[in-house]
């Protein structure tokens, strides 16, 4: 179990690899694919059946998992598990400024 939630006011750190693992799990689950069939860099739009509705559903599940909200403007232009993981990491990592 991964933790991205706020505990005692501090966001526990999650590594990029951990985020990638969760995102991959959700993406392949939504598309009904084997977990090892989607590499981090795979362009999701190249997968048959990965329509825009499914992409939004994936994002919704990712949001629920990490208890975060991804803004529309953050998810425009994303095309791979790697891209999604970067957006999630950006929201999970407290802004140093």
């Amino acid at each position: 179990m991964l933790w991205g939630k706020i505990c005692f006011g501090v966001k526990l750190s999650v590594t990029h690899e951990q985020i990638v693992a969760v995102v991959t799990d959700i993406v392949t689950g939504e598309l009904g694919l084997a977990a090892d069939s989607v590499a981090s860099a795979t362009d999701l739009r190249s997968i048959e059946g990965a329509d825009s509705v499914k992409v939004l559903r994936m994002i919704s599940r990712i949001e629920r998992h990490f208890d975060i909200e991804l803004e529309d403007e953050d998810v425009f232009g994303i095309s791979s598990v790697h891209d999604i993981a970067l957006v999630v990491a950006k929201v999970l990592t407290p802004d140093p400024s």
Binding site: R45, E48, L56, S60, G77
Partner: protein
């Protein structure tokens, strides 16, 4: 005859409905009609001071938020026309979207775009790719307005809105709507559903840049009816949560394309339906894409325990060219449908009723009668375009006060939309039975997915340049799967399109020649084609068939034989 302008109508309604609200729960934000009227006068002075006035066309680039509506009315107050611009969706290639916007900006002659504060950052990422336009923030226009300044008197015959929902990405067509058109269209919608009854409220998750989302919202506003506008993402991400919010908002009227009703059925578990109260939902517009009887029946059955009234399901036919509404069913009538022979309909344009279980039976849902102010006729395909009789399919032609007088077009494009006697050819096919209009297909090569229009030529334009495609040879065809395909394979993908006679999902099928033999390389090419095309166009899905070199049939002059390819593409899955 309706007179005046959109903003006059807003001022009139705001005078007695100052506190009526338009809510945007996904923002969250809210604006009253009084605030909308006042703020748009201020914003208009800013725009006028920047040189915007009669003859200008100004883009709106905003999510569903008060700023969208403020920009719209502020622009029309200056005498300029408002051009709602499409927003990208998740996983949509930004460069591709910028290119699409650039075509629209060029065709419409847009120099200024009002952008919401939330989209200002995204607009800056376009970095000149949209053309020579200035993005101005709605908030800045409000803050920096001159204290005084005269606004022009705007004539009802001036262009108010240019709606870019028709036409391909390569050759966009902007539907020109005057103030008189839009007010007549809103009048037609309002009368058709008796909008403004006690307790009425509107609710929509459609994008405001989409004609159905825009005119549904404007109808509520100009009839002093409270309106709630969600973001499209909030619906798509969690339809069940949206439905609960919609029902709790007290709204009685909502528009959605057919697929939205499928989503609600799939998202709401049967055990939870009885806990809902849907009795107050009195008009559920089902439009913007073909209405499927199976979807309608599933929805009525699924939500019957919650008290959803069958007569609330309201299958309609409309288009931006008519300021939305063309035909509505009589208010209070449950959906009506007929079963006709699919083959006679497709091959002979003949309407022949058959029992539902007949092997060639195809269901068509009635979309009602022409709304107030719209005349409708059906014309035959022959050169004479003679009127067709009641048992025959014809092209639907319309005219009337809400109907556009023409398009803004790319230079060098001809407008063949109007007949010699001034009727607009819709490109849709249909028939009439017992006073009802039934829409059966299209003469134009276009598909509608989730309420948005897509054209094969745009698909080909992208596919040709992708490495691995043999000598740029590819053809895209539009069509619909048979319902039987959908039942078997859920969406019939891989079976291809069958022309206009199916009644299942709408698909674009791309056939591309390639000399690649290696299965992995072929998979990669198919994946590249799908990724590039869906990413650039925002098309939700695409069927790709790879064929050997020099197999797509061509005419002696080297042109692809589209019709032959279209037939072949579904008869022999490749």
């Amino acid at each position: 005859m309706v007179t005046g302008t959109l903003h006059d109508a807003l001022d009139r309604v705001a005078a007695h409905g100052r506190d009526t609200r338009v809510d945007f729960p996904s923002e969250p934000a809210s604006i009253t009609l009084g605030e909308l009227a006042d703020s748009t006068r201020v914003m208009a002075r800013s725009l006028a001071a920047a040189g915007i006035g009669p003859g200008s066309r100004v883009g709106i680039f905003s999510q569903n938020a008060p700023e969208f509506l403020q920009a719209l009315f502020a622009i029309t107050r200056t005498g300029a026309a408002a051009c709602p611009l499409p927003l990208p969706t998740a996983a949509w290639d930004l460069a591709g979207h910028a290119h699409r916007l650039a075509r629209i900006v060029s065709v419409a002659g847009i120099r200024d775009v009002v952008v919401s504060s939330r989209f200002r950052g995204l607009a800056s990422r376009f970095d000149g790719a949209v053309g020579n336009v200035a993005f101005v923030c709605a908030g800045d226009l409000l803050a920096a307005a001159p204290a005084s300044g005269r606004l022009p008197l705007v004539d009802a015959a001036e262009m108010a809105i240019v709606q870019f929902t028709s036409g391909s990405t390569a050759a966009p067509k902007g539907v020109r709507l005057t103030h008189a058109n839009t007010l007549a269209g809103i009048e037609a919608i309002s009368e058709g559903i008796a909008l403004g009854r006690d307790g009425d409220g509107g609710g929509s998750w459609l994008p405001l840049f989409h004609d159905m989302g825009l005119f549904a919202t404007l109808s509520a506003i100009l009839r002093n009816v409270p309106m709630t506008v969600w973001s499209p993402a909030s619906f798509v991400k969690d339809p069940a949560r949206w439905l609960r919010q919609f029902l709790a908002s007290g709204a009685t009227i909502s528009p959605a394309p057919n697929f939205g009703y499928d989503q609600l059925v799939a998202a709401m578990p049967p055990l939870e339906v009885a806990g809902l109260d849907m009795r107050h939902w009195r008009v559920a517009f089902n439009g913007a894409e073909p209405v499927a009887l199976a979807s309608v029946e599933r929805f009525l059955e699924h939500f019957a325990p919650a008290g959803f009234a069958p007569e609330a399901m309201f299958p309609v036919y409309g288009m931006a060219e008519a300021t939305l509404a063309v035909t509505f069913p009589p208010l209070g009538r449950p959906p009506v449908s007929v079963w006709v022979d699919r083959d006679l309909l497709a091959n002979a344009g003949r309407v022949w009723q058959v029992p539902p279980g007949h092997p060639h039976a195809r269901a068509v849902v009635a979309v009602g009668r022409p709304v107030r102010g719209v005349d409708l006729r059906l014309s035959g395909p022959d050169a004479g375009r003679l009127p067709v009789d009641d048992q025959q399919v014809g092209e639907i032609e319309i005219c009337g006060d809400p109907v556009t007088s023409g398009y803004l077009l790319a230079e060098g494009t001809d407008d063949d939309t109007f007949t010699a006697d001034g009727w607009l050819r819709t490109g849709d096919l249909g028939f009439r039975l017992d006073g009802d209009v039934f829409v059966t297909g299209r003469t134009k090569e276009m598909i509608i997915v989730h309420g948005a229009n897509f054209y094969p030529e745009d698909v080909e334009g992208i596919a040709r340049d992708i490495p691995g495609v043999f000598k740029r040879r590819c053809v895209a065809v539009a069509g619909r799967t048979h319902d039987s395909d959908r039942d078997g394979g859920r969406d019939g993908r891989g079976k291809g399109a069958d022309g206009s006679d199916g009644d299942g999902a709408e698909v674009i099928t791309l056939l591309a020649e390639t000399s690649l033999d290696d299965p992995a390389a072929r998979d990669r090419l198919a994946g590249d084609l799908r990724a590039q095309i869906t990413g650039t166009l925002g098309l939700s899905d695409l069927a790709v068939h790879l064929v050997p070199p020099s197999t797509l049939p061509r005419t002696s002059s080297g042109k692809f034989q589209r019709l032959a390819i279209r037939e072949q593409s579904w008869k022999s899955p490749l």
